[in-house]
């Protein structure tokens, strides 16, 4: 018995000892470093760590002046390849660059994630006229000549100018371009922090070391649960056969060919952690399905080296993970240069499936035989998430590959894309209420003009309607009609020759509706952006409406309170309330003149609240204004207390039409 206890104790101790390097490693990963200016001499060129964000596209990311892509913090995390931006759904832990070369026959490397780059300028953001090539650009410099935060570092003597480019336009909002000017500036021999001695570098390599965490939530505990441990990383090195190794991707037609194979990409996506079931209870948590089955991280995160000047060849692709990150330059050499040059998937022999881990991908281009002192190497890469939220998997991969094609096209054309020449404009949309001869409301006409059709790339229209918002407050667009030139054409014409008109009878007073008509392009091959459509929120095409009777001009007799009695709740408000889109009670006074003021009183004459024609109780972006013939009361008193059930009196006071006293009932 005693022996048994000892055994357990001993096993425990051994386990703890074995685990300790892992635990330390995990802790080290958590230490977010922040440089302090006072760590350096006053005349050092090194500045404080700095960062800013690209938040204009669909991909949001942090930009730094120390070669970090993303934000590897665990608390108060900011966007780190968040996709879609603003949702907090993060794909990236961090990416960095590694530079390496032989000096006097010995291999040395400078690694961003080991803090071997020191910032030389803050991150500066440019937009508008200040931006040269993109809608939003960043600029930062750093070097490895003096790296006070790194221990035993051998500086190569290079400075990096990092520029990033981001766009909000539909075809370029899924990626961010990183442009690196790597300059051989020489080394510092007198210790003042400035390079003073030229030195050529032999067999110079450029490496991206990329550590995605799909999906990394902003808390360490949640991440453990949310599986940075179950990622996969691949490159497009040999063929697309690896796709068939994943049961979740097998047998689906992806259409990817050998043409997309050029060993320039790192791709990471969420796998299945066998330790955990998905939130929907399914044992397969590939893509992190939530309880309702929707994929939380359906996307493929990745990076592509788009261009190098002078031209470098792809050299190798390797992986490492949280337990075998290289610690020394020698280990780095082994991991980068050793065979096989392009690493295959790691297969778990127990189930013959790809082994999920907390991977990093290491993609190396080079070598440049001699990187001469004073020379510059220019590398342009793109960072992207390709996501098909409905099915994920291979569909997201195809998205990713197409996004990268577009990014390459933009780089090859020096970011000069004639958008207006490529994509037809959105039509001008209007929505009109339809009333029959008896004055009864019938529905609405959705009207749009044919102005986009003169565009050579015009292919058709899709009309959408939204009558609900999601819990995040986004509109739930539903296509109501599609008109393609080569299929269903033309759309029904209205009275005017150049205006189309479709009728929607599924519309009621008091509810909110949103309409838009997209122009759809033909398949655009050059640049390879495929079929493009104009934005749902294009200001010419987006038309919110809250139908109501016309403003009363005759008398106040028709003023009604709807619903009467108000019993508990009414269905015309949003039915998925959330903090982003809260519930409010809505009681409407209708058939008002536009100048009406309504005062509400209790039955014994206490003044309860005052509202005005045209006022809606709903607050938030994207709500149609109530029509001027309508005033809404939120059933809150003038002191924001819930009004009690009972009979209330109201007075409509209109300077143009006079005064009316009425009554209504609330039951709650």
């Amino acid at each position: 018995m005693i022996m048994k206890q000892h055994k357990i104790l001993l096993t425990g101790l051994v386990l703890i000892l074995l685990m300790s390097p892992v635990l330390n490693g995990a802790d080290a990963e958590k230490n977010h470093f922040l440089m302090r200016k006072d760590a350096y001499t006053a005349d050092s060129p090194i500045v404080e760590s700095d960062w800013d964000w690209h938040k204009i596209g669909v991909l949001w990311n942090r930009i730094t002046n120390f070669s970090y892509m993303g934000d590897d913090a665990y608390t108060d995390r900011t966007p780190s390849c968040d996709y879609p931006g603003g949702t907090g759904n993060s794909y990236l832990y961090r990416g960095t660059i590694w530079l390496s070369a032989f000096v006097d026959g010995e291999f040395h490397s400078t690694q961003g994630d080991d803090q071997e780059f020191s910032p030389l300028t803050p991150v500066t953001m440019y937009t508008g006229d200040e931006a040269q090539k993109a809608e939003q650009e960043s600029y930062a410099e750093y070097y490895d000549v003096n790296a006070p935060l790194a221990s035993n570092h051998f500086p190569l003597g290079v400075k990096v100018i990092e520029r990033t480019y981001a766009w909000s336009a539909d075809f370029a909002s899924d990626f961010i371009i990183y442009e690196y000017d790597i300059i051989n500036v020489g080394i510092d021999t007198d210790g003042d922090g400035y390079p003073d001695t030229d030195r050529d570098l032999d067999e110079f390599y450029f490496t991206i070391r990329f550590d995605g965490d799909v999906s990394k939530l902003p808390h360490w505990g949640a991440e453990y649960r949310f599986s940075n441990q179950d990622d996969h990383v691949v490159s497009n090195g040999v063929d697309w056969e690896w796709i068939e190794a994943f049961p979740q991707m097998q047998g689906r037609d992806h259409g990817l060919t050998i043409e997309e194979i050029d060993s320039s990409m790192i791709m990471m996506f969420d796998g299945d952690n066998p330790e955990f079931d998905a939130f929907d209870g399914h044992p397969d948590d590939f893509g992190n399905p939530a309880e309702d089955g929707t994929l939380q991280t359906p996307g493929v995160l990745g990076l592509r080296i788009l261009k190098t000047e002078p031209k470098l060849k792809p050299h190798s692709f390797h992986t490492c993970h949280i337990y075998n990150d290289p610690g020394t330059d020698q280990e780095t050499w082994d991991r980068m240069i050793s065979d096989p040059t392009f690493e295959d998937l790691l297969i778990d022999p127990r189930n013959n499936l790809p082994y999920p881990l907390d991977y990093r991908g290491i993609l190396t281009f080079g070598p440049m035989d001699v990187f001469k002192a004073g020379d510059t190497l220019k590398v342009t890469t793109a960072l992207a998430v390709g996501s098909d939220p409905d099915s994920g998997g291979v569909h997201s991969l195809v998205e990713f590959v197409n996004i990268m094609k577009m990014a390459k096209y933009m780089v090859d054309h020096d970011y000069d894309i004639p958008i207006d020449e490529l994509i037809p404009p959105a039509p001008n949309v209007e929505v009109e209420e339809v009333v029959n001869e008896a004055g009864e409301f019938q529905g609405v006409h959705l009207l749009w003009d044919d102005s986009p059709e003169s565009h050579p790339n015009f292919a058709g229209y899709i009309a959408y309607k939204a009558s609900e918002k999601t819990a995040t407050g986004d509109l739930l667009w539903v296509p109501i009609d599609t008109f393609m030139v080569d299929e269903t054409w033309p759309p029904p014409l209205g009275k005017k020759a150049s205006v189309y008109k479709i009728f929607d009878s599924n519309v009621e007073f008091g509810f909110d509706y949103y309409y838009t008509v997209q122009s759809v392009s033909v398949e655009i091959i050059d640049p390879p952006i495929g079929v493009q459509a104009t934005s749902m929120r294009d200001p010419n095409a987006y038309y919110p409406i809250s139908p109501a009777t016309p403003v009363a001009t005759e008398n106040l007799d028709d003023v009604k309170v709807v619903p009467n009695p108000y019993v508990g709740s009414a269905i015309w408000n949003n039915r998925i309330p959330s903090s982003a889109n809260p519930w409010e009670h809505r009681l409407q006074f209708i058939n008002l003149p536009a100048d009406a003021t309504i005062k509400i009183f209790t039955i014994d004459g206490d003044f309860v609240d005052e509202i005005h024609a045209g006022e809606t109780v709903r607050i938030g972006e994207g709500y149609p204004d109530a029509r001027d013939s309508v005033a809404e009361w939120d059933l809150l008193t003038r002191n924001d207390q819930e009004a009690a059930p009972g009979i209330y009196m109201y007075v409509v006071d209109s300077p143009s039409l006079g005064t009316k006293v009425g009554k209504f009932v609330v039951v709650r």
Binding site: E508, F511, N564, G568, D604, F607, Q641, T659, V665
Partner: protein, 331 residues
């Protein structure tokens, strides 16, 4: 006995003063507010400063302690034309049984035509109508404790209903009047509509709660609970003049309701030979209007009965005005 009633009065004062005061008017937060409308032309014309002035059968609507002053038997009916095509009325019958005290039965009711139902589908009216019923039925008892102090108590049923949703609740009115004997000075107070919290009957679908509207079948919810309109009334009145044919009485009330800030009312009444009466008053904390005017006639019909006919006009500001008529028969 007189000390006891003083203690009672002090207790009520204490109750009011320890009731946490609101820094704002919690208007529209209680049910049964029809009970707060002033009943009868006399009280209304006096600006509702009538806690001590109400006597006889109509006292049940202000302070049941006043029941004892009405002579033997009284019938009181009142009808008020109220804004938005509503009518408000009441009736009370009091009977005095010697030393036993005075008993009364009473009722308050709000009347209106059926209201047209409007819905999201038919905002201009579905063509269907719903009725509402707002009424009370009360039984009161009052008696003198001493020759100067009277007390009264009403137990009543309060009912409010709209389209098959409603409640019935019991509530209590309690009051006392102290007659000082000095220039007709009277002090009085009452607690009106004191009762339990109520909840409307039936249920509803809560569209803001997926648990309520999404499951099939939908899961209806109960309504919330609310308070009745509890009012503490303090009043005083004094005869400024009372000579031969002329009497001039002034009255002031302070009212502490649970659904508003303190209300202050003042009223005056001039009577000629107690046959012709002119009244006026002002409600100071009223949101709309405040001025009240009225007149009354009192006459003996045959030798066994006296008839009172009164009228009052109340200015209700934006809500226009109201006209009240009331009739009292003493027999």
């Amino acid at each position: 006995m007189q000390n006891k009633s003083l203690i009672l009065i002090l207790l009520i004062v204490l109750m009011v003063t320890v009731t946490p005061g609101e820094t704002f008017a919690p208007v529209g937060t209680v049910v049964g507010q029809f009970m707060e409308i002033g009943m009868g032309a006399k009280g209304a014309a006096m600006g509702e400063a009538y806690t001590t002035g109400a006597s006889g059968a109509e006292a049940v609507f202000w302070n049941p302690a006043g029941l004892v002053d009405g002579g033997n038997n009284q019938l009181f009916v009142s009808q008020t034309q109220w804004p938005a095509d509503m009518a408000f009325g009441g009736a009370a019958l009091s009977m005095t049984f010697g030393n036993l005290g005075t008993f009364a039965i009473s009722s308050v009711y709000l009347m209106t035509d059926d209201m047209e139902i409007t819905s999201l589908d038919a905002p201009n009216g579905t063509g269907d109508f719903f009725s509402l019923s707002n009424y009370t039925l009360g039984l009161s008892y009052a008696r003198y404790l001493t020759d100067r102090v009277s007390v009264g108590l009403t137990g009543k049923l309060v009912r409010e209903e709209y389209l098959d949703h409603g409640y019935s609740a019991w509530s209590l009115d309690l009051g006392s009047i102290y007659r000082t004997g000095f220039h007709g000075l009277k002090l009085g107070m009452s607690i009106m509509h004191f009762g339990p919290e109520i909840r409307f009957s039936g249920d509803y679908i809560d569209y803001s709660d997926q648990q309520s509207y999404l499951p099939d079948p939908q899961v209806p919810k109960e309504f919330e609970t609310y308070s009745l309109p509890v009012m503490f009334r303090f009043g005083t009145s004094i005869d400024l003049m009372n000579k031969m044919d002329h009497r001039l009485t002034a009255a002031g009330d302070m009212i502490h309701p649970n659904n508003n800030v303190e209300q202050y009312n003042l009223g005056v009444e001039y009577a000629f030979r107690e046959m012709v009466t002119l009244r006026s008053g002002y409600k100071f904390a009223s949101d709309e209007g405040g001025l009240t005017l009225g007149a009354g006639l009192r006459m003996a019909v045959m030798d066994w009965t006296t008839l009172c006919i009164d009228y009052a006009y109340s200015d209700l500001g934006l809500l226009t005005n109201s006209h009240r008529f009331s009739l009292g028969i003493s027999f």
